[in-house]
């Protein structure tokens, strides 16, 4: 690459915001997860009388066709229909009739069935029911949940800090830009984006402001300007990756593209010759830069 960073921003002196250092899972999150499990393992019972929160099946008779049904489901307290109807069956037993006045006339309800769902209490029995190997108590569930999720949270937090530092590098470093190289990169991004819009049925010549349509040339020029920052990112990422690995970035890029092509049943060469190669290379290098920077930023994470 001809474009490069001539003076690298001293990212090691950057202040890391405290909130980015956090990654440990709080007890509240696990308690909430257990509450969800308890609701998912709710059991059903048929109580003697209707209470708020129950599900009630009624035979309803009315001159209004809407309320004249063999089965009308009511959920007292849920506010899904006329509250007069929902509340009319409170305290009723199966077989009991209640008549209620609504805006659409009188409705007579006969309770056919009452169903109540009760959440399984949060406790060792609930945890055992989940059938996780070696996890039989709530305390063990807390440990297990952390073991399962914290490594990913930790890496994700390190990546978050890495993203911040890479941003600072490209904003605060001094760069030397080769215009020809930049044009080739940015025009490829702009053209492939333009093609994507057309394929998605979006006309790039329709202005985002005003009423005058853009010419095709103006639309492409607009996209060039919008994609310019990606070149700075590409140059900064390439510089960082080369500095950290000592390897040739083109070789790294090709290796990553080979993997990507193999995963998608394609040839890497075909990826590089089609429009959009710049976006692909930029993304590949950015991922690599993030990964390398995250190895460094792990030291800033909370203990």
């Amino acid at each position: 690459m001809k474009s490069t960073i001539t003076k690298l921003y001293d990212y090691k002196q950057a202040v890391i915001p405290a909130e980015l250092r956090l990654w440990r899972i709080k007890d509240e999150e696990i308690a909430e997860k257990l509450e969800t499990l308890s609701r998912n393992r709710a059991y059903e019972m048929e109580p003697e009388t209707v209470q708020t929160g129950d599900s009630v099946a009624c035979r309803s008779e009315s001159a209004a066709a809407r309320w004249d049904r063999e089965t009308l489901l009511l959920f007292p307290g849920r506010g899904l229909c006329d509250s007069a109807l929902e509340n009319a069956c409170l305290g009723a037993r199966v077989g009991e009739c209640r008549t209620v006045s609504t805006d659409e006339g009188e409705v007579t309800l006969t309770v056919k069935r009452i169903l109540r769902r009760a959440a399984m209490p949060v406790g060792d029995q609930l945890v055992k029911a989940e059938g996780i190997d070696g996890v039989n108590t709530v305390a063990e569930y807390y440990d297990w949940y952390r073991e399962q999720n914290e490594p990913e949270r930790r890496r994700s937090a390190a990546m978050g800090i890495a993203g911040n530092l890479l941003y600072e590098i490209r904003m605060q470093s001094e760069l030397s830009i080769d215009q020809e190289e930049k044009d080739a990169f940015v025009w490829d991004c702009a053209n492939s984006y333009c093609q994507s819009l057309v394929k998605a049925g979006i006309d790039p010549t329709v202005p985002s402001e005003g009423t005058d349509f853009l010419t095709e040339e103006q639309a492409k020029q607009k996209m060039y300007v919008e994609h310019e920052p990606f070149f700075t990112m590409y140059v900064a990422d390439a510089y960082f990756v080369q500095k950290e690995t000592g390897a040739d970035v083109d070789a790294i890029c090709k290796e990553e593209l080979n993997k990507l092509a193999a995963d998608n049943g394609l040839e890497a060469e075909s990826l590089l010759t089609e429009d959009g190669w710049a976006i692909l290379c930029g993304q590949v290098l950015h991922n690599k830069a993030l990964e390398l920077m995250a190895n460094y930023t792990e030291q800033f994470l909370e203990d």
Binding site: S55, R66, L80, R116
Partner: protein, 104 residues
């Protein structure tokens, strides 16, 4: 409780007086956001059958019900399609949708 349907079990599962069906995709973010709300509704509204269909695994149902986007919600009465869900989202939105199935 939410029943996971397949191409083979779907017709039997929706044979209820009132049933809601969530057509979802494995890697769909909005589907994942809807899942806890849908689960909660299934617990709160016993007597309504809540069913979900993973369209990635059920090509026949995807074609039969013309599922072009996920999540898509459809509501059935006595095994027949009664109402095409228009919206999905927070609990209030979902409640207003299911109220159409129950009371319209």
């Amino acid at each position: 409780m939410v029943y996971e349907a397949t191409d083979k079990t779907f017709d039997q599962l929706i044979q209820a007086e009132y049933a809601a069906v969530d057509f979802y995709g494995t890697h769909c973010g909005p589907c994942k956001m809807l899942e806890p709300i849908y689960n909660e509704m299934s617990n709160d509204l016993a007597l309504v059958r809540f069913v979900k269909v993973n369209v990635d695994h059920c090509p026949e149902l995807k074609e039969r019900f013309h599922i072009y986007a996920v999540p898509t919600l459809k509501y059935f009465r006595d095994g027949e399609l009664f109402y095409e869900g228009k919206r999905h989202g927070p609990r209030e939105v979902m409640d207003s949708e299911i109220a159409k199935l129950l009371y319209d």
